[in-house]
Symmetry: C2
Subunit: 382 residues, 2 copies
Amino acid sequence: MDSAKTPEIGFDIPAAIGMRVEEIQTPALIIDLDAFERNVARMKQFSETMGVSLRAHAKTHKSADIALYQMAEGGAVGICCQKVSEAEALIRGGLTDVLIANEVTDPKKIDRLARLAKFARISVCVDDASVVAALSAAAVRHGVRLDILVEIDCGARRCGTAPGVPAAELGRIVSAAENLELAGIQAYHGGAQHIYDPAKRRVEIDRVVALVRDTVDHFEQAGLQCRSVTGAGTGTYNLEAMSGLYTEIQPGSYIFMDADYARVGATDGNGTIGGFEHALFVLTSVMSKPASGRAVCDAGLKTHSIDSGLPFVFDRDGVTYVDASDEHGNLDDPDDVLALNDRLRLVPGHCDPTCNLHDCFVGVRDGVVETLWPVTARGKVY
Amino acid sequence: MDSAKTPEIGFDIPAAIGMRVEEIQTPALIIDLDAFERNVARMKQFSETMGVSLRAHAKTHKSADIALYQMAEGGAVGICCQKVSEAEALIRGGLTDVLIANEVTDPKKIDRLARLAKFARISVCVDDASVVAALSAAAVRHGVRLDILVEIDCGARRCGTAPGVPAAELGRIVSAAENLELAGIQAYHGGAQHIYDPAKRRVEIDRVVALVRDTVDHFEQAGLQCRSVTGAGTGTYNLEAMSGLYTEIQPGSYIFMDADYARVGATDGNGTIGGFEHALFVLTSVMSKPASGRAVCDAGLKTHSIDSGLPFVFDRDGVTYVDASDEHGNLDDPDDVLALNDRLRLVPGHCDPTCNLHDCFVGVRDGVVETLWPVTARGKVY
């Protein structure tokens, strides 16, 4: 590469601090900072009122800046994430209490995990007795202690040991292992977060709570410590919090609210989940108006994830995002209200994998770019 | 951040050169270098035999290393990409002939595009007369020439002006504009690439070719230059090449072959498209074996894109990837052949958005990591 070219060619991110919103190069992932701050404050108040700890899930945003804000201003006692590489990136970014709400089983990853405990308080889940010895050996080798949660499968049919006796038996094995501390139970039902019918959602979480209660009972009968019962996401956090059994909740999406959670919330009495507002948008531009009735925008599959449905167009009636290809979004524009270079805000279908597509969040207030927050752990899946 | 921590915490990519495959931290995006090189050679031979230019589509891989390899060893006359930021990154990486096979309409983007023409030969598509003046003004301002292709909508109902008279009229406007060079016609039918039935695919491309022929005729009648007729992807490249009308083809996925193109190829006579082999895999590990009949691996929505269907498990009978969540893949394992930390290779459903999730390609030969190629333009969507 001719290094003389470098300063003249391109930017590395689509915006700069102080820029007006109209100048942002699209597509870009923008945060409405006012709405974001209100969401953070709202969950802080909820957790304080309910007397449950808030462990904010950083898998949503993967940003050290946002996680530190949740710790400083949002009432979070710590964060969770899903992968060792994610924890590495966030701890390098300044976080000091990280739960990997997932299993870590590869020997090299276990070693990396134990090494992290020199720099931060580390908790991790187990669902298999064969891993306990490896975790213990790594903790001894690095001279650290690891907090261990026994993960139970409470209905999601993903990871997790069976609740009740098998979970308590695994707890006993953890409890006996050197340099491991049995912290309690991880019971998270991912699928339940996205049940649109509130009655069915409640029935499912009632079932979860019964399984957790049975497991706590078995822990107690076995004389095992269980200071933490942790789980719950943005779709059901209030139900677990009201159970009297969960000590900690793990919501992530509440800070942003995506289109799928809007559908979940739409069936609740007040038309939203807990009053949380849409704060995350894909800013996109119309790049083609090839025919009457339709238009094409510059945000496609590489800009937002469609695994939980298409985005919707925010605050602009009569225009619908109807199809995504790699680099384009097709818009229905029956009244031909759109013109070339018009800008739209899309509420992404699913915020977590959408954030993971971008290098930074462009934070906007009063029409001006105020913050640029790197997606610190973007791509850290290993 | 405590900079003293940095060297001890984590890696930034999941592999290192010289590492054995078993040591790669999963999930990781790996290339079978032998298969990849055979694919590159196969398309080179095809384009030479057919006498069409090969403009390799870099939107698939977004890697300067791979694009330079396609130029040096693969018979490519240049590359295409889809966004200005992608072109910026690839030109910084050493590419010198780049077609943005897409419309660029934002004034700031047009300025960035014209600036790029100081460092590389730049072509771009137009489908709206109102943009031509802005492109011309930017080219004049930067003292450069831009090659312009009139994009026609040949059936995909995305961008593109109507074929025939409207396209020729747009060509005339381009032709008259200062510092713009009318290069010809862009006619790419994205949807046709993925039609599984080969007879229907052929009918669709026959229709495309008729529209292109009509447009070329109108260009000739208007005395407009049309040295380039460009388009075609991996699903139909042979049909456009055989048309006698296309001068250039733009396949991208042929280097990797994903699961959806395997389905397209399955209906062809020889069970594959043009003999191309699967060369791109997500390497994943079993991280939970919670119950008989199923297992969980560590590759989910942040590791591969499911917009064109789920990945399939390569070279391992009896195991099926049945569901993806953010960080996990659920596997059917009816015979319980999988054990914790077993490794699998997944062929992703759609290679383009999958590559865009990763920071690097881990190139593997004979069980050893031989190359680490950054995904140079990852996240460059603006």
